[in-house]
C-alpha cells in the first residue's frame, strides 16, 4: 500500500498554517512529515500524518480544499551520495520525479525522503530491486 499524502490549498495570508496544525492537533492527528510549496499567490501544504482518512475529513469539515495523493517513502544512507544513488536508479528507469522532500528520521543512520513520481508502482519496484529501503505506509504513519 502506498503512503497517502494529504495536500491542502492555502492562500498566502497570515495564520493559515497555524490554523491547519491546530485543527490536526485538536483531533489528535500526528504529523510525521510536511512540505510547503508556495508561489506568490498561494501555497500547497503537503502532509504525511498518522491517520490520513481522519485528517482529510476534519480539514474538509473546516472548509479546506484537500486532495490525497500516493507517494513513495524511502530511507537512504545518511552519508554523502546516499540520495544520489536512489535518484540515479529512478532516472535510469525513466521514472520522473514531480517533487520530493526530506524529513527527520528517528533512526540515526538513515535519512527519509518522500518522492512524488509519475509512476509510483514502477518507482517502488525499481527502488526495492536495487536495494533501496522503501517504507510501507504503516512504517511511515508510525514515525
Amino acid at each position: 500500500m502506498f503512503v497517502k499524502q494529504i495536500s491542502i490549498f492555502l492562500e498566502n495570508k497570515s495564520g493559515r498554517l497555524a490554523e491547519v496544525t491546530t485543527i490536526l492537533g485538536d483531533n489528535v492527528i500526528d504529523i510525521s512529515a510536511l512540505s510547503l510549496a508556495d508561489t506568490t499567490n498561494f501555497g500547497i501544504l503537503r502532509l504525511i500524518v498518522n491517520n490520513p482518512v481522519r485528517a482529510e475529513e476534519v480539514l474538509r469539515d473546516n472548509g479546506f480544499t484537500t486532495s490525497v495523493t500516493s507517494v513513495t517513502a524511502i530511507g537512504v544512507k545518511d552519508q554523502p551520495g546516499g540520495l544520489a544513488a536512489a535518484l540515479r536508479i529512478l532516472n535510469d528507469a525513466g521514472v520522473e520525479i514531480e517533487y520530493m522532500y526530506a524529513f527527520v528520521s528517528k533512526k540515526e543512520d538513515e535519512a527519509l525522503v518522500i518522492l512524488k513520481t509519475g509512476e509510483p508502482e514502477k518507482a517502488e519496484e525499481v527502488l526495492s530491486s536495487n536495494g533501496i529501503n522503501v517504507l510501507t505506509a504503516e512504517e511511515v504513519y508510525d514515525l
Binding site: 499524502q5 508561489t39 498561494f42 500547497i44 472548509g63 479546506f64 480544499t65 484537500t66 486532495s67 512524488k116
Partner: protein, 433 residues
C-alpha cells in the same frame, strides 16, 4: 475658429426645439414602420406615431435598454437593410454577446460632423496634427475621432492605443498638437515623456480630447499640469453614436450635448419619471437623425444632470454634468466596459470553477488594473503547483478573451468570498477617480 457649425451650436433655444420636434416626429414614424421591435413596444403602450407631436410627448414613448439590443442580436434593431449599412461596431454586452451598432453612409457623415464639433471645441483647426490614441477596431473611439479629425481637415495620426514609447516619439517628431485618448492613458503618456527625458517645450501639444472613461476634475488638472495642455472631457457611447455625443468647451462647465442629433432626458431610474432640469438622475437619449440604429429613449445607466442656461462660450446647446456614476454595475476599465456578469458566465462555462468571484479594480501608475478572485474547488485542486498555475492561466485567458482586457486571476480558498442573501458584492473599486 470658435465653432465648427455655429448655426447649430449657437441656435436659439426655440429654433432648436422646433428642429427637434420635426426630427423626432420623423424618427418615430420611421422606427414604427421599419423596426418590428419598436412597433411592438409602441403597440404594447397603445401609442401610434401620430400621438407624438413634439418633444413634450417623449415620456409617452417606451424606453430602450441594452438588453433589448442584445435580445435582437445582432441586427434586429437596425432600421435599414444591411445593404445600407457601411460600418458595424460593437461594445461589451452584459453577458457573452456584444452590443452591435450599425451606421449608414450618412450616419458616418453625421458622426464625423459631431466629432468635428468636439475637436473644434478643444481648439482644433485644419492646421492641427491630431494623434488618435484611442483603440481602432470594434470599439468606436479610434475611428470616431479619426473621421471627425479628417472631416475637420486636420492631419490625422491613426496610431491607435498602446506602444507608448512610439506614441511619445511620434508626438515629438510629428509635432502632434491635439491628443485623443482615454484620460488614464494621457497620464501614462505624461510619465513616459518624463522618463524619456523629453521636455514639454520640445512638444507642440496644445490640447487633448479625453473620454471613454470617467475623468474627475482632479485627474483633469493633473493631465493639464503634466502635459501643459487644455484637457477637454468628451462623452459618447457606441449605442448612441460613439464619441461626439457631448463635449466640453474651454469653459469646462459641463459637456454640450449635440442636441440637433440627440435629445437628452434625465429620469429617476426607479420611478422612471422625467426629472426637471438640474436634477441628478439617469441620462436617457433619443437619437433623431440616425438611420442605421435609431434609439428611442435609450437608458444609458450613466448618472448626470442637465443645465439649460446659456454658456459663456456662446453655445446654446444644453450641458450635461460630468458623469458621476452608474445605475448598474458596469465598470469602465482602461476605456473598456466590463460587466461583472461577463466574468460569472466565463466561470459557469468552465464547469470546474464555482461562480463565486470578486473583482478588485485599482489604479497603479495611472493604469487601471483588474484582479479577479476565484474560489478554489476540489475538482480544480492538485498537489502540484504547475497544475494549479495552469488552471489559473486558463481562467485568466478565458476572461481576457471575453473582456478583451488583461486581468490577473488569484485563486482563493473556498467560501472565502463573502456570500450575501441579497445582492452579492462582486466588485471592490479602489480607484480614486
Amino acid at each position: 475658429m470658435l465653432y465648427w457649425n455655429q448655426s447649430r451650436e449657437c441656435m436659439p433655444r426655440e429654433e432648436m426645439q422646433k428642429l427637434q420636434n420635426e426630427r423626432l416626429i420623423k424618427t418615430v414614424k420611421r422606427v414604427y414602420h421599419n423596426v418590428p421591435y419598436y412597433r411592438a413596444r409602441m403597440q404594447e403602450k397603445g401609442i401610434e406615431p401620430g400621438d407624438i407631436k413634439g418633444i413634450e410627448d417623449l415620456p409617452k414613448l417606451p424606453f430602450t435598454y441594452k438588453q433589448d439590443l442584445r435580445d435582437n442580436y445582432p441586427f434586429g434593431t437596425f432600421a435599414v437593410p444591411l445593404s445600407e449599412i457601411v460600418r458595424i461596431h460593437a461594445s461589451s454586452g452584459t453577458t457573452g454577446k456584444k452590443t452591435v451598432v450599425g451606421y449608414t453612409r450618412s450616419d458616418i457623415e453625421r458622426w464625423s460632423e459631431v466629432m468635428a464639433r468636439t475637436l473644434v471645441s478643444a481648439g482644433a483647426t485644419k492646421e492641427s496634427v491630431i494623434q488618435v490614441a484611442y483603440g481602432y477596431g470594434l470599439f468606436t473611439g479610434g475611428l470616431g475621432a479619426h473621421y471627425g479629425a479628417e472631416k475637420l481637415g486636420a492631419s490625422v495620426i491613426p496610431i491607435s492605443g498602446g506602444n507608448t514609447r512610439l506614441q511619445v516619439e511620434i508626438m515629438k517628431d510629428f509635432g502632434t498638437t491635439i491628443l485623443a485618448c482615454t484620460p488614464s492613458y494621457a497620464l501614462y503618456m505624461a510619465e513616459e515623456i518624463e522618463e524619456a527625458g523629453i521636455k514639454l517645450s520640445e512638444l507642440k501639444l496644445k490640447a487633448g480630447v479625453f473620454g471613454a472613461e470617467p475623468c474627475s476634475d482632479a485627474m483633469r488638472n493633473e493631465i493639464e499640469r503634466k502635459l501643459g495642455i487644455l484637457a477637454i472631457d468628451i462623452y459618447g457611447l457606441s449605442e448612441v453614436i460613439g464619441p461626439g455625443v457631448a463635449s466640453e468647451c474651454p469653459c469646462k462647465c459641463g459637456l454640450h450635448i449635440q442636441e440637433d442629433h440627440f435629445i437628452p432626458e434625465i429620469i429617476d431610474p426607479e420611478t422612471e419619471e422625467v426629472l426637471p432640469p438640474g436634477s441628478q438622475g439617469e441620462l436617457v437619449f433619443t437619437t433623431i437623425t440616425k438611420e442605421g440604429l435609431p434609439l428611442i429613449r435609450y437608458r444609458t445607466r450613466d448618472v448626470s444632470s442637465l443645465e439649460y442656461s446659456p454658456c459663456a462660450c456662446g453655445r446654446t446647446l444644453v450641458r450635461m454634468s460630468k458623469v458621476t456614476g452608474r445605475t448598474d454595475d458596469m465598470l469602465i476599465i482602461r476605456g473598456v466596459n466590463v460587466f461583472p456578469s461577463q466574468i460569472e458566465s466565463v466561470l459557469l462555462e468552465m464547469g470546474d470553477t464555482a461562480p463565486h468571484y470578486l473583482i478588485i479594480v485599482d489604479r497603479v501608475s495611472n493604469l487601471d488594473v483588474m484582479e479577479v478572485w476565484v474560489e478554489m474547488t476540489s475538482t480544480m485542486f492538485s498537489d502540484e503547483v504547475k497544475r494549479i498555475e495552469d488552471i489559473e492561466k486558463n481562467i485568466r485567458k478565458r476572461i481576457e478573451d471575453t473582456l478583451g482586457l488583461s486581468v490577473q486571476v488569484k485563486l482563493v480558498e473556498p467560501k472565502s468570498i463573502e456570500r450575501s442573501q441579497g445582492k452579492a458584492k462582486r466588485v471592490i473599486d479602489k480607484r480614486k477617480i
